[in-house]
């Protein structure tokens, strides 16, 4: 079975907008997949279905063998513990230090303090922020904040790292640095990466699998894809 599997997925919002229409998608373990598309194409909806921010109107969404569509609200945390999620706006807790922000994802498991410390420092080191552990988010640059959120996403060794336009607020140079961090996670830890973006430079340079969404449907799904060649 595939790690992520979407079968005939439809999503229609209460206001009548159809965001996704008969989407079928398989992603296997260890893959690095870009999901690209114009604003309003449905790529954000697709990403949100994966971590059960939204439920599909019809169809099935399997993540690590769990049918996300049927997951009750009270049980969503079980799915999210298998995932790491990185957002465009970082979503860090402003009143917590870098260390506390990352450790927070582990505290929910009730691990021993020492274990939390070890794993947290390891994740912070992985993203290259070792000397900022005691800083608060507002003392960091955008790129650094995004690194913190990546560290938080990978600290519990998730099978899948979901990135929703992680470089959307960053300049090109910082974006490339972030991409290097994410690629290293894919290669070092074998974590499956799904990343929504519209940064064509990144997509062109990385030469990974590209899924193009247009009007709520998968227009193309190519390995080692390039942005421009697909005519968007």
């Amino acid at each position: 079975m595939q790690l992520i599997e979407l079968k005939n997925v439809y999503k229609r919002y209460p206001n009548g907008v159809t965001a996704l229409c008969d989407v079928n998608l398989n992603i296997s373990k260890g893959e690095f997949v870009f999901v690209i598309g114009a604003s309003g194409s449905g790529k954000s909806t697709l990403i949100k279905l994966l971590y059960r921010q939204e439920r599909p109107t019809k169809g099935e969404v399997y993540v690590g063998g769990v049918n996300v569509a049927k997951l009750r609200n009270g049980k969503v945390y079980k799915l999210r513990r298998k995932l790491g999620i990185v957002f465009q706006d970082y979503k860090l807790l402003p009143k917590k230090t870098v260390f506390e922000n990352v450790a927070f994802a582990l505290e929910v498991y009730g691990l021993k303090k020492e274990e939390i410390r070890k794993k947290t420092l390891k994740a912070i080191e992985q993203v290259g922020l070792k000397d900022k552990t005691r800083s608060y988010p507002d003392e960091l640059s955008g790129g650094e904040q995004q690194r913190v959120s990546i560290a938080r996403a990978i600290v519990n060794n998730p099978k899948v790292l979901i990135c929703d336009e992680p470089t959307g607020n960053l300049d090109p140079k910082t974006s490339m640095e972030i991409m290097k961090v994410i690629e290293a996670i894919n290669e070092d830890l074998g974590t499956t990466i799904i990343m929504a973006t519209h940064d064509e430079k990144i997509v062109n340079k990385m030469k990974k699998r590209v899924v193009i969404i247009e009007n709520g449907m998968i227009a193309k799904d190519v390995m080692k894809g390039k942005y421009k060649n697909e005519g968007i």
Partner: protein, 299 residues
């Protein structure tokens, strides 16, 4: 062990939450403080009203006048018959000569008029002063006494007593209603304030959800924060009510304006008031937070 670690972690988390969001905490605390002061004052007031009305009711007496010229055996017989009645709490004999002296003490005019009579020619009547257990059936008891042999007249302020009891009943009910209504208003106000303060922390709740925290885990620190806020908020009202009332009691010498209106001794009620205030603060704080968080657990 795991659950215990999560719990202790969440308790320390809630202390951090109180102090790192201090301006929000202060809003909740001051709201709790003000409303609890009102609750405390109304509680003390209702205690005093109750104390006063109960005292007045206890003082109500049935005066039984015996027929003129009854012998001592007959007096004893009447007394034992009255004592047998179930509603009678105490009975006291007042001979006509005692009554005469009492009246003479009251005014110069009566003194000179009554001094014309000797003990033998005393026109007054022997009386029994009777207090009852249940003030509401004082009328029925008086009727029964009236039927006893050698009893001439029975007086208990009929008409006005019934009115008084009715009014006291209403006053007591009003004080209960006011206290309960105030506690409810407090609960509503506090939980609303907490709701607003939590609204500004919905991002925090959202992030907790996204990193895989279970709903129970998310609610816990807010629950403890509510307890802490409620507890801190109850401190000033407790000091104000307990010390304030003690001060007032000492200053006024134990009664309000006249000796007819006694105040309740502070040592009898301050502990109860203290307990009620802490309980209301803590419970409302805890459940207010708990309920407010629930709203944001849908992300």
């Amino acid at each position: 062990m795991k659950a215990f670690r999560i719990l202790s972690n969440n308790i320390s988390e809630s202390f951090k939450g109180v102090f790192r969001n201090f301006s929000l905490s202060l809003a909740s605390i001051s709201c709790i403080t003000i409303t609890l002061i009102l609750v405390g004052f109304s509680l003390i007031l209702s205690y005093n009203v109750n104390n006063f009305t109960t005292k007045i009711e206890k003082d109500l007496t049935i005066v039984t006048f015996l027929k003129r010229g009854v012998s001592e055996e007959e007096i004893e017989e009447v007394k034992s018959k009255i004592t047998e009645l179930s509603n009678v709490k105490s009975i006291e004999f007042n001979s006509k000569n005692q009554v005469k002296e009492e009246i003479q003490d009251e005014s110069e005019v009566f003194k000179s008029i009554l001094s014309q009579y000797t003990d033998e020619t005393n026109p007054l009547k022997d009386t029994f002063l009777i207090k009852v257990e249940d003030i509401n059936s004082i009328g029925d008891t008086a009727d029964v006494i009236k039927e006893i042999e050698n009893v001439d007249l029975v007086k208990y302020g009929e008409g006005s007593v019934e009115e008084l009891i009715k009014i006291f009943d209403i006053v007591k009910k009003i004080t209960y209603v006011v206290v309960i209504a105030l506690i409810l208003v407090t609960a509503f106000l506090i939980s609303n304030t907490i709701k607003i303060t939590i609204q500004s922390r919905r991002r925090e709740i959202e992030i907790r959800r996204l990193v895989g925290a279970s709903n129970a885990f998310i609610k816990q620190p807010f629950f403890f924060e509510g307890i802490i806020l409620g507890f801190i908020g109850a401190v000033i009202p407790i000091l104000a009510c307990c010390f304030g009332y003690q001060y007032l009691y000492d200053k006024l010498g134990g009664h309000l304006f006249t000796a007819i209106i006694p105040l309740v001794n502070p040592t009898n009620i301050i502990y109860i008031v203290m307990l009620v205030l802490i309980a209301v603060g803590v419970l409302v704080g805890a459940f207010g937070s708990y309920r407010a968080v629930r709203k944001y657990l849908k992300i």
